[in-house]
């Protein structure tokens, strides 16, 4: 097959993935491209490719590596901003990925740089950029100084930009946008000041806002306002939308995962469940109206947002085919919901937790007040970093397992501001002990099928493949392949830094590539 034909095929698949709304096969992941942050709309991060298998993975070879050069005016991107945390898109034989303020295109076969765009920053937290979205001939990405930038896909030249949040309020922007039909969906980050999170839908052509959905009520008549003590608390109640969304094209529902309430730790002035923070929320992408919600951490007091991936899949449950969505939440709990209505089918935990007394009638955890942060300290697991965090999980329809990059982590939680009207943080956790794990959850039982304990610190994104493999980062700055069914480690390659994003896979020229970011370097392995 010629390169031109492959590119055409990729473009068609991209178009199909991004625009198919009624086809029954919208969930099928493409094989010669990776056109969204998660590879498709579902968030499964599952590759149907089978050239690389558990039997031959040790024959992988290095195809190329690309080291990012941010240039002399990068502003000292420390604190994570200089790492490749984004998941690259692969469209038409070109990889597109981002770092804070930077978008880069490289040839997917050779790693040769095609273009590099640098945004002149006004500031903001340079913690990382999750990635880009592409629609037609335009690439979109968010910048730490609260902008979404549109670039020409072919050469990286600037088309337009739009301010999406207020930098003075210490918001910043980092998520990979999502294109759904004629909507460019963006989110916002920042939990320093007590400000509200929201989702904006923008016109992909002009950047004009189509609608905004606030995570926390802005008027007393809005749903959820009765879960706050007063409107002042609700309006400033946080709930940042800092992780990419998933989507069901058939139900036409976007699944938004929301951040923790504000003030974060000290909480005397926000009694109540604090909706719709720390929740999975289904929105109609055409109107911005909420269809259902499920709150993973009612009245969170531990900085446990619920922004981990809400993964869409179909599967059998109690003998019936069901439309499901699942999340391994930062608080250590595992939820499987009916994604048509948000009803919980499974509420369990993927690591040991000690902060809740059980589940309510909706399957939501009931926090144990004794494990709230205290002036003299409370011993709690998970820690603030959570049992899971931003590194994306994966679901394999082949094994039926949900793979969680996890931690069994303990720390002491303290209140620093015991006043009746705390602001911002007012407490935090200290110290701790942690074990890094890769947990394979059986969605039907809510129990781990297997757990792999790492000898050291490891928590990065996960890719599962139809070759019965799981790829993720290990504790020795290595990329590791495990048997997807058993968890047995099979192969690894030491890199120059700890894996910093989620691996992806695609096939070009009848060769299956495996791409992973580690620090400032993108690595490509191939099975010839």
């Amino acid at each position: 097959m010629s390169r031109k034909l492959i590119s055409f095929s990729s473009a068609c698949l991209l178009s199909a993935v991004l625009s198919a709304q009624s086809s029954s096969d919208w969930m099928k992941a493409p094989t010669d491209s990776w056109p969204t942050y998660n590879g498709d709309y579902t968030g499964r991060r599952f590759s149907p490719l089978t050239r690389i298998t558990a039997a031959n993975v040790d024959a992988l070879s290095l195809a190329w590596m690309y080291r990012v050069n941010l240039g002399p005016n990068s502003g000292g991107l420390g604190g994570g901003g200089g790492q490749i945390k984004s998941t690259p898109l692969q469209i038409g034989g070109v990889l597109y990925f981002t770092l804070s303020d930077h978008a880069i295109a490289v040839d997917a076969r050779t790693g040769r740089e095609l273009w590099h765009y640098a945004w002149p920053s006004r500031g903001g937290i340079h913690l990382g950029s999750r990635g880009a979205a592409v629609s037609g001939d335009t690439l979109y990405f968010e910048t730490p100084d609260c902008h979404v930038v549109a670039l020409n896909l072919k050469d990286g030249t600037h088309k337009w930009d739009r301010e999406i949040c207020d930098l003075d309020l210490l918001y910043y922007a980092s998520i990979a946008p999502l294109i759904v039909k004629n909507h460019l969906l963006i989110g916002v980050s920042g939990d320093d000041l007590d400000t509200p999170g929201y989702v904006d839908a923008l016109d992909p052509t002009t950047g004009e806002r189509q609608w905004r959905w606030y995570v926390v009520p802005q008027t007393k008549d809005e749903a959820g306002s009765d879960t706050w003590p007063n409107l002042e608390a609700a309006r400033h109640g946080g709930g940042m939308t800092w992780q990419p969304y998933t989507y069901d094209a058939e139900l036409n529902l976007v699944y938004v995962t929301t951040g923790n309430p504000q003030p974060v730790i000290a909480n005397k002035n926000r009694a109540g469940a604090n909706l719709f923070t720390a929740s999975i929320v289904a929105l109609n992408p055409d109107t911005g109206k909420m269809v259902w919600y499920f709150q993973c951490s009612p009245h969170d007091t531990h900085d446990w947002d619920a922004t981990q991936p809400a993964i869409v899949f179909d599967g059998e449950f109690n003998g019936q085919p069901r439309k499901l969505i699942a999340q391994a939440s930062r608080n250590g709990k595992f939820f499987v919901l009916d994604r048509t209505n948000g009803k919980a089918l499974v509420s369990s935990e993927y690591v040991y937790t000690n902060w809740s007394t059980g589940y309510d009638a909706k399957g939501q955890p009931m926090p144990n007040p004794a494990k709230d942060p205290r002036i003299d300290g409370a011993l709690v697991t998970p820690n603030q970093g959570g049992a899971a965090n931003w590194p994306p999980a994966s679901f394999s329809p082949q094994t039926g397992l949900f793979y969680v990059p996890a931690a069994q982590a303990w720390s002491m939680w303290y209140i620093y501001d015991p006043s009746d009207n705390p602001q911002g943080w007012g407490g935090t956790d200290r110290g701790g002990y942690s074990e890094s794990l890769l947990v394979a959850m059986d969605y039907k039982t809510g129990k781990p099928r297997w757990t792999h304990k790492w000898e050291g610190s490891a928590r990065t994104g996960v890719l599962s493949t139809a070759g019965n493999l799981v790829f993720t980062g290990g504790p020795s700055q290595d990329l590791v392949a495990l048997n997807a069914t058993t968890g047995a480690p099979l192969w690894h390659a030491r890199l120059n830094a700890t894996v910093s994003n989620g691996p992806i896979s695609y096939e070009l020229d009848a060769r299956q590539f495996l791409i992973v970011g580690a620090g400032d370097t993108l690595w490509a392995f191939v099975k010839n």
């Binding site: 937290i125 007590d194 923790n260 974060v264 970093g385 690894h492």
Partner: protein
């Protein structure tokens, strides 16, 4: 939002040290997880090795002397309605969350607002406040905002000595089985004088810190014994282990590296395993009782 962990701090030096310690801990002990616990950078701190901070680059840093002068203006003209910490009262709104304050640059917003006229405690017209007073007020208010950020210098652990030392002693000598390894008159003699109460509490729960792992002999170092299929067992301090390789430093100081195979027997010994395991069983009362007891060992 509870972003991922991994930013650097308001007070870069302090936080970089803390991050280094945490990173070392993560490397050596399994650590805290994927990323170290961050502190919030102050608005306007830019271009440092620690990265670009929260907020815009053109936020002026707080001038402590100006903030102190502003505190006097605040006490004379504002405190009754807006409160000591500017968080509002029944008579006036919260200014920590005020857009005028958050958009202000040393008086750029606050000045025009006050010049238009705003009630003051003294009864004088707000327009009569001098530019210098407004600038001082701006620094005072920015300092109040920064005080709410994680990493704020006013955020410190308070009193952790809430337990019963007698109950702590009983637990230490009884159900806690602490005396299997420790003695209040031996290795822990005087520990209450060497550590602050909060450090004592943290050390009790999470001992070892960044010390040990592969760094050389010490009590908390993890050791490993590797036995090849045909050969003599080799023991030493664990340097690094994963699913594919294991390396140790033997008694001569030499680094020994082994590729792991099913035939290679590897036995790891962590002297702190008991501490790790008891995290699942300790109650908060037991923790505070033991800390109250150990704090008295001076």
């Amino acid at each position: 939002m509870a972003r991922e962990r991994g930013r650097f701090g308001l007070f870069a030096g302090i936080v970089l040290l803390a991050a280094s310690a945490l990173a070392a801990q993560a490397q050596g002990r399994g650590g805290r997880g994927a990323e170290p616990d961050p502190q919030t950078p102050a608005p306007g701190r830019t271009g440092t090795a620690a990265g670009i901070g929260a907020g815009p680059m053109d936020y002026p840093a707080v001038d402590a002397a100006a903030a102190d002068r502003g505190r006097s203006v605040w006490a004379a003209e504002c405190i009754t309605c807006h409160g000591t910490q500017a968080r509002g009262t029944d008579n006036g709104p919260n200014l920590i969350r005020s857009l005028v304050v958050l958009h202000d640059r040393t008086g750029s917003e606050l000045g025009p607002f006050l010049k238009k006229g705003h009630p003051l405690q003294s009864g004088q017209a707000s327009a009569r406040l001098t530019d210098a007073q407004i600038t001082d007020l701006s620094h005072f208010l920015r300092q109040r905002v920064n005080d709410t950020l994680r990493g704020s210098p006013i955020f410190v652990v308070q009193n952790v000595l809430t337990g019963d030392p007698n109950a702590g002693q009983a637990f230490f000598n009884g159900d806690g089985k602490c005396t299997q390894c420790h003695s209040a008159t031996g290795d822990l003699a005087g520990i209450g004088g060497r550590l602050t109460p909060v450090d004592l509490q943290q050390r009790f729960l999470f001992p070892g810190g960044a010390r040990g792992r592969g760094a050389g002999p010490n009590r908390s170092a993890v050791t490993v014994t590797v036995t090849p299929a045909s050969g003599t067992p080799v023991s030493g301090v664990l340097v690094q282990m994963d699913d594919f390789d294991v390396s140790l430093r033997d008694e001569t100081g030499a680094l020994r590296v082994f590729h792991r195979t099913p035939a290679l027997k590897v036995v790891k010994t962590d002297p702190l395993e008991t501490h790790h395991a008891m995290l699942r069983t300790l109650t908060d009362k037991q923790i505070h009782d033991v800390v109250a007891y150990l704090e008295k060992q001076k």
